[in-house]
Subunit: 366 residues, 2 copies
Amino acid sequence: MAVQINEGIRRLFQLPELILQSGNRLSEAVLAYETFGTLNTAKDNAILVCHALTGDSHASGSEDGPGWWDGLMGSGKALDTDRYFVICANVLGGCYGSTGPATLDPETGKPYAMNFPTVTIRDMVQAQYHLVKSFGIAKLRSVLGGSMGGMQAFEWGVTYPDMLETLIPIASCGRFSTMGIAYNNVMRQAILNDPDWNDGEYYGKTFPEKGLNLARRIGMITYRSFSLYEERFGRSMVPTADPYAMDSEYQVERYLSYQGEKLVSRFDANSYLFLMKAMDLHDISIGRGDYGETLAQIQAKTLMIGIDSDFLFPASELKQDADFLQRMGKPAVYRELNSIHGHDAFLIEFEQMNEWIKQFLEEGKV
Amino acid sequence: MAVQINEGIRRLFQLPELILQSGNRLSEAVLAYETFGTLNTAKDNAILVCHALTGDSHASGSEDGPGWWDGLMGSGKALDTDRYFVICANVLGGCYGSTGPATLDPETGKPYAMNFPTVTIRDMVQAQYHLVKSFGIAKLRSVLGGSMGGMQAFEWGVTYPDMLETLIPIASCGRFSTMGIAYNNVMRQAILNDPDWNDGEYYGKTFPEKGLNLARRIGMITYRSFSLYEERFGRSMVPTADPYAMDSEYQVERYLSYQGEKLVSRFDANSYLFLMKAMDLHDISIGRGDYGETLAQIQAKTLMIGIDSDFLFPASELKQDADFLQRMGKPAVYRELNSIHGHDAFLIEFEQMNEWIKQFLEEGKV
């Protein structure tokens, strides 16, 4: 495993000691972050972008390589870097520069591995809060993200309700579903079953490639739709002398295996475990009353975007949350992406998203 | 692994040498089967029931323990054993008495393991054909089954079109979907990644428990629905001193793990691999023209039953096939089970199925 990071543009932010949701403390932690555009003198043009499970701070591209949300970011786009100052930080527990299980534990001088404390979505958001405050920003124009990034947006809306004007969770949820927990269970088990995982103590030894590869394959199935796989791969086989051989492969299998290999080359297996646990534990209502009461604590204008083909984060759940907020008299709207791409549409369907998000940021409505 | 078989009621049928779809030959193979009810003197009251991936010949229960389709079989039910003679055989490649990878290879005296020839759904059906013929049955009243059992029903309809009056595929397909192949890929990989699998040579050694357990967990996720998991388990945790511990568990995880353990105690890992391959290779049109032309070779009256919450075998695909047959002037009807249970509804929603199947068998229409 060789995590490739654009060292040129990434900066490190030293966090104060954090008291985590679990009650544990984390000291000497850092967040790796990037900024795009310029913070104005009033410091009122800042937007926080939150990344998904295997994402990083490089939301937008430059000479340092393309960013994962280039379709939404840049001159003239929804997140117009001529107007807005966009911040994106690698999450706590990640492996793109922020403190995570691969980081050296200052107490032992060795990687934390499984001794890293469990971090939650709420902890990630607390860390981002300190970063935002360090710029002297009192209020964000928006917090937005897809999938695990949207979970952070939900937490922001409830934890710091007066610090954001708008909130845009995409293909996400205020609490992780049972089905989501089930899929994380099998992805986790895929890693734990790999003898090379070695209770997490693989740093400097053999990386648990097979385990992480399998976990990623499972993930990739859930990120796409039935129709997309049907249309793209159908029943095509990888050319072979004997299609009846037990190791003959369909094109979709080759694709999954390739996606697994790609992730193994860029992501830490223990980070994958910690971030999945953070998703499992995600529920904005923990310690705050019931789910509806908690949701009603959101003060920001909220745009919820669901994806009609999303199997993992059903559009109906986001719509339900938006409807609830409306009934509570809150300024919430719901829009639905029509896409064959499934959950990953939030990384693909930029035309619809640009229009809605641009208008929402400018006018506070769609 | 200890496969438990009701030896008391199961009979063995010695197959002639089979020429498999792959062109390979399989000699000295047997089918383990059971029958329910009595074959009449005209031999025109026989029905063939085909089982799903991890099923067996014990479709209906007796003093030897409950059967997997008791809800549909027995006096007064759709498959009324007072009227019909029902045959159910363990599939070729299975591990409930029929010849499969755990069987001793007559040439070596050792288990076939991965030297077992690849069998297809068509091969399973060919083997069943010989069994049916051995009773002197010229025409079956019906062939029916769910999931992999429905695949066999589809193949029966095309391979022996004049041997069945009616055909009832449930929650199944005439060719396996890309998504299905994708899920089989990760289930297969889960087994292959287990060092105890040992290239299939684990007989008499350590069984690949972790691998098969994980494969089953993945399967169980796809057999149920988002709503069912939500309703049954929600976000409930298994009681623990520290919910933030990395090994804390949600109830749905405990359930999946239990299901994995149950399968490990009753199923052979190599059989699982061979049967998944058979599903992957399933496409009635192979060697027969295009899919529509092939479907049109069905002569039997056909009742296709889809399940509205089935993620793995979408109801829309079955409906599409039924619509196509209707346009071709064939006597085909489509019915849809309304169920929260997902794919597994074919093992659960007996009320609706009983009504439709009973009427279809008696009147040839619903």
